[in-house]
């Protein structure tokens, strides 16, 4: 990686941006979300945060133009130069110009706006080009980048963190005890006795424990769970999830947040998602679910919301009649609200706050109560 000569960088961590005009190639909201996604790429690995202005002078002014457009670098028609940006500073500095003689697209059929925007934002934040062909800051546009799997290379992360450092409290075990529920900017502590999880799922034999913007990954071969940003594997997924579960027979993990859900296979988010949760058969009164687990033997998926649960038949792909039922009636000893559920070794593990209830479905009773983070060798 490299920074601009003189190493210009922003002297503040909260920056503003403004989308000054739009390309006719895409709907406005597609441009908005491409830019937001590109900002998030850098937000995740630095202390930087961004907010949008709709008028006046922002730090990063984003515009589309063709040929000569008022600076010293006129564009060159379709091809070659796609966009350019200026290093941090006042006025023109920090700004991004896209060549509107390119065909801007949301996918790879033309020039992908998200990918180019993420690169140009690297310049707006002070990164120069990288000679690492795997890096986002490599100067040539790589149309074969797997968009769903996009992740910053270590070279990019090293470069931007050489300017701004890592996200706050970047060590996994923060030096100072965090509050029981870390706020957005803190990193969750694995062995915090009060720790809880947002969602838990298996994935091809591994266990994923989601929390805030991160997840712990527990595999068979590595006793020490790995710790990652969700966006490092699935950039288009939200954070602060509600629920997650794997349907083994479909080699797919379903991720829920609010009234939407995504399908992921490995680290690829499947096309056609997110979908609305009501397409699964929930009543419109349900705004979100708290937890879910799929019983691979019975091919039934259980959805938990507040003190009730639903059962979904994976064969007929429909919600079963006679639901919702009360959790307390069929899972005695499990206290709502349920944060996450895991099926393993013939038991169901219900996670609620810092407690975990091991439930034996045959005996229909709770057999153990453990700490939620016992799976992380705490």
């Amino acid at each position: 990686f490299s920074s601009f000569p003189g190493m210009p960088k922003w002297r503040k961590t909260h920056l503003t941006y403004r989308i000054v005009n739009y390309t006719p190639d895409l709907p406005r909201d597609a441009v908005d979300s491409a830019i937001e996604k590109a900002l998030k790429v850098w937000e995740e690995v630095t202390p930087l945060t961004f907010s949008r202005l709709y008028e006046g002078e922002a730090d990063i002014m984003i515009s589309f133009a063709v040929k000569e457009h008022g600076d010293f670098y006129s564009f060159d028609g379709p091809g070659q130069s796609l966009a350019h940006a200026y290093p941090p500073g006042p006025g023109l500095y920090g700004d991004i110009h896209f060549d509107d003689d390119e065909k801007w697209t949301e996918d790879a059929s033309g020039t992908n706006l998200f990918l180019v925007a993420a690169h140009e934002l690297g310049h707006s934040l002070g990164l120069f080009h990288s000679a690492n062909t795997e890096a986002l800051m490599y100067p040539l546009y790589n149309s074969f980048t797997e968009l769903a799997q996009f992740r910053l290379s270590q070279d990019d992360v090293n470069g931007i963190q050489s300017l701004y450092g890592p996200p706050p409290a970047s060590t996994e075990e923060p030096l100072v005890p965090t509050k029981s529920v870390p706020s957005g900017s803190e990193v969750p502590a694995k062995c915090d006795p009060a720790s809880s999880f947002d969602a838990i799922s298996t994935l091809r034999g591994e266990y994923l424990f989601f929390k805030d913007r991160y997840f712990w990954r527990r595999s068979h071969w590595n006793p020490e769970p790995e710790f990652h940003l969700i966006s490092a594997f699935w950039p288009s997924l939200p954070s602060y999830l509600d629920a997650a579960y794997e349907v083994n027979s479909r080699d797919t993990v379903f991720i829920f947040k609010g009234n939407e859900f995504w399908a992921i296979r490995g680290n690829e988010v499947q096309a056609g998602y997110p979908r609305g949760i009501h397409t699964l058969g929930f009543p419109s009164t349900i705004r979100k679910i708290d937890a879910a687990v799929s019983d691979k033997e019975k091919k039934k998926t259980y959805f938990f919301a507040e003190d009730k649960y639903w059962r979904f038949d994976e064969n007929s792909q429909s919600m079963e009649q006679g639901f919702p039922r009360l959790i307390a009636d069929d899972f005695p000893g499990v206290e709502p609200k349920v944060d996450a559920v895991l099926q393993a070794f013939g038991f169901f593990y219900f996670f609620s706050g810092s407690s975990q209830f091991e439930f034996d479905p045959n005996a229909r009773m709770v057999t153990h109560i453990l700490k939620s983070n016992s799976w992380l060798h705490c």
């Binding site: 966009a83 080009h129 546009y141």
Partner: protein, 82 residues
């Protein structure tokens, strides 16, 4: 003047492409003459610098791979600091 043969024309356009590319992204001074002298040491060095940065074989010549890369879409920010 003799009409340029196809090969000579192509060579000319390749040199033009390379000259613009090096001026735009590798800080080459805009000076037509020096580019005409193919063996100009400065040009060879600039071509080698570009090939090294972009991960190409460093030949100092406008070989096929180098010409192909120069035709690829890219960011408009130079690779060498002004």
């Amino acid at each position: 003047a003799y009409p340029l043969s196809g090969a000579a024309k192509e060579e000319d356009s390749n040199r033009d492409l390379a000259q613009q590319y090096l001026e735009k992204y590798y800080n080459l001074e805009k000076d037509v003459k020096q580019f005409r002298r193919k063996d100009s040491n400065l040009i060879v060095k600039k071509i080698q610098g570009m090939q090294k940065f972009l991960g190409l074989e460093v030949t100092g010549k406008l070989d096929t791979d180098t010409l192909e890369v120069m035709r690829k879409p890219r960011c408009g920010v130079p690779d060498v600091g002004h």
